[in-house]
Symmetry: C2
Amino acid sequence: MERKEISKSVLKRLPGYLAYLKSIPEGGSSYISATTLANALGMGEVQVRKDLAMVCDGGRPKLGYPRAVLIDDIEQFLGYDNTTDAVLIGAGKLGQALLGYGGFEAYGLNILAAFDVAPAAESEGGKPIYHISQLESFCRTHKVLMGIITVPAEHAQSVCDQLISCGIKAIWTFATTHLEVPSNILVQHENMATSLAVLSMHLQAQIKEKK
Amino acid sequence: MERKEISKSVLKRLPGYLAYLKSIPEGGSSYISATTLANALGMGEVQVRKDLAMVCDGGRPKLGYPRAVLIDDIEQFLGYDNTTDAVLIGAGKLGQALLGYGGFEAYGLNILAAFDVAPAAESEGGKPIYHISQLESFCRTHKVLMGIITVPAEHAQSVCDQLISCGIKAIWTFATTHLEVPSNILVQHENMATSLAVLSMHLQAQIKEKK
């Protein structure tokens, strides 16, 4: 179907639908309605109906969506069928953990190599780790468009600038710091420290209540 | 200082301030103003001023905040000085990566052990991995209040229910699915799949533009 403009909030809900659709055992009904999905996920029916209409043409009155088609359409929409090559900068503990994590392939992400100022020979997962000086030639040769930043906050901006000068257009950063980028570059922050702070504040409030 | 009610959006900015404050080399000025901080991070001065006033009493006219005091206050606010014990459920690739990642300690998170339906003896990082049947006694003995979910989406809700029945009050989930919880339980989603989808859509749009 024609790709529509879609908001980030819709995008955030799609992986949830996908996970539920894939969790339905084989042999069940091959159709699923927005109502069923909404009830299963505890969401509003109108919202689910609208979201699905954004990504899939195949809905049929009374029947709903053919499940297999809906799964394909959501995956295509999320770019999971479209492998994106990426480089990772900063082969410290977090960088190594991401490098060794095989689960990103299901989301269409393929980390080709890591770069560091003090590179080890190879990560535990078998991906190569090169010296940062080789970044530009690697990115140009492999036409890499995505960079993942896992360096300490104080080095994140200079790494970010370096990535952009190597032709990177999308940056996924785990550093807890603001990054300045030109308007054609997209930065996505993965702020685990914030998540932990939110959880920790909730626990402190609960403990206080008990006293 | 008296703990004020604070919004999630303020909370999201605090780790950024903290990272910048810590990145200033020793020997520089021991005071920092909201203006300096705002300029350095490319943020609005009014916002930075308000945020800092929420967490720190020590601001002085013309001088700004004593940097060391500000760092301490933000860390205390974010609960980094308050170690939180947690259990992790699902010792697959992501679970093992988180278990082996030492960096969470800086944020006050201490993962005591992992639980799985098919536990290996021990993770690479040396943390124990137990059978899920031992979860309740472990949580009660160690008075654990936080649970981390890294099981596949289709098992996330049942794991979540199990955690709550073991006395867990705060849940950090990496599963891409909605979780139903009572109102006194806080769930924080870490949706890496969404981040990747947002980045992938941006790249697709950029490639399309070029054509």
